[in-house]
């Protein structure tokens, strides 16, 4: 599960992007190196997956470059069983401005 947050200036130039990966993470229990694949995984070392009854919350601060007062935000949540294999879940867009409404 991947959360992508992107901010573009009003001229379309990307000023910020970050990703968060939500998944159980395993090693082979012989080192601290994360491994992929059921034939190698044995035990979990960290789990960032989305848990029942436990909302997953992120607060992301995006510093604005000088002269930028408005941004177009795009937040995507997708399921990616393998890199590049994308099942879209949510796509939320917002326009925010430093100028008072």
């Amino acid at each position: 599960m991947v959360l992508d947050v992107t901010a573009n200036a009003s001229d379309g130039k990307q000023i910020f992007h970050t990703s968060k990966i939500y998944m159980p993470q395993a090693t082979d229990s012989r080192s601290n190196q994360m491994v992929l694949g059921p034939d190698k995984k044995l035990g979990l070392i960290r789990d960032t997956s989305i848990q029942p009854f436990a909302p997953k919350e992120e607060t992301i601060e995006i510093p604005l470059p000088q002269g930028v007062t408005e941004v177009d935000l795009e937040v995507n949540l997708s399921y990616q069983p393998r890199p590049g294999d994308i099942y879209p879940i949510h796509n939320i867009k917002k326009h925010v401005s430093l100028d008072p409404k």
Partner: protein, 303 residues
């Protein structure tokens, strides 16, 4: 002569007594028979076709057409295939701790995945494992497609956990004595989450020479969902009304996206302002807050 005859007869009697005694010892030797107690060991078959035939459930379709059609579209009907019918076991046979030089070299030890993906292997010899390995490595989808979690896996093999199931019965939610061909016996397990938990995972499978870890969903259900007050069963969410389609279906991309959208509602808030931690330090910024809620009875994703 008489003495010799009597001596030979006595020797024959003693020999037969020994044979009888050894036979009795073998039968009652610990470990003889099935891994689970009480029932005689089902004969292991030597060919893949025999195994497929033994678990053939095509006759179920004659009366249960709708359920069979639902099941045919489910991942249970192609349990050795991943997304888009990719034969996932082939990749493990080619590279990694379970790899083999050729299909003929495979034994059941190369297939810990079969514990859940093809539990019927319990009733087969290593030569059947080699046949499956060859089919997988040859990308023989017609053959591999025949290996699945069919009716008899859930409605017999997995229906009873306290002892062995009755091999002359199938199991359902009610007793049906006059069911055609085979009587149906009631199994309370079929509506219980433990039924699904037998395969949908607690985490590491340490009983194998090469331990593996696949599904962890039942562990998550037991240790995260239930302690948080969850009350639904696996079947209530994944088999509503007894639907044997049992989503998610990773091959239906639109449907899976929709299912995840419903299971994981997301809220996004955004604020643009100028932060001023101290005099003459003004930092224009946007603060984005995302919150993903979960309606699921287990972690998402699994794996």
């Amino acid at each position: 002569m008489d003495y010799n005859l009597r001596y030979q007869t006595k020797q024959k009697f003693i020999s037969r007594l020994w044979i009888l005694a050894i036979s009795v010892m073998i039968v009652f030797l610990p470990g003889h028979g099935t891994s689970r107690a009480s029932d005689p060991s089902p004969t292991q078959v030597n060919s893949l076709q025999e195994l497929v035939d033994r678990f053939d459930s095509s006759s179920c379709r004659e009366c249960h057409e709708q359920i069979f059609t639902q099941w045919e579209k489910s991942h249970h009907s192609r349990s050795l295939m991943g997304i888009n019918d990719y034969i996932f076991i082939a990749s493990y046979l080619k590279k990694g701790p379970l790899a083999i030089p050729s299909g003929e070299k495979a034994t059941k030890k190369n297939f810990p995945c079969f514990k859940c993906h093809f539990p019927q292997i319990e009733f087969a010899t290593d030569s059947v494992a080699a046949e499956i390995a060859k089919a997988a490595l040859d990308n023989d989808k017609v053959t591999v497609r025949k290996l699945n979690i069919g009716c008899l896996v859930c409605h017999r093999e997995k229906s009873v956990v306290h002892g062995r199931p009755d091999m002359n019965a199938i199991y359902g939610n009610n007793d049906i004595k006059d069911h055609p061909e085979t009587p149906v016996r009631k199994s309370p397990l079929l509506k219980n989450s433990l039924m699904c938990g037998q395969c949908h995972g607690l985490g590491p499978n340490l009983e194998f020479e090469t331990p593996v870890q696949c599904a962890t969903l039942y562990g998550s259900y037991l240790h995260a969902y239930i302690p948080s007050g969850g009350t639904e069963t696996c079947q209530q969410c994944h088999m509503p009304g007894g639907d044997h389609y049992m989503p998610p279906n990773f091959n239906n991309r639109t449907e899976l996206s929709e299912r995840l959208r419903n299971s994981l509602p997301m809220q996004v808030r955004a604020l643009a302002y100028s932060f001023q931690p101290k005099e003459e330090d003004i930092r224009p910024m946007v603060v984005v807050n995302t919150k993903i809620f979960s309606k699921a009875g287990h972690r998402i994703p699994d794996g």
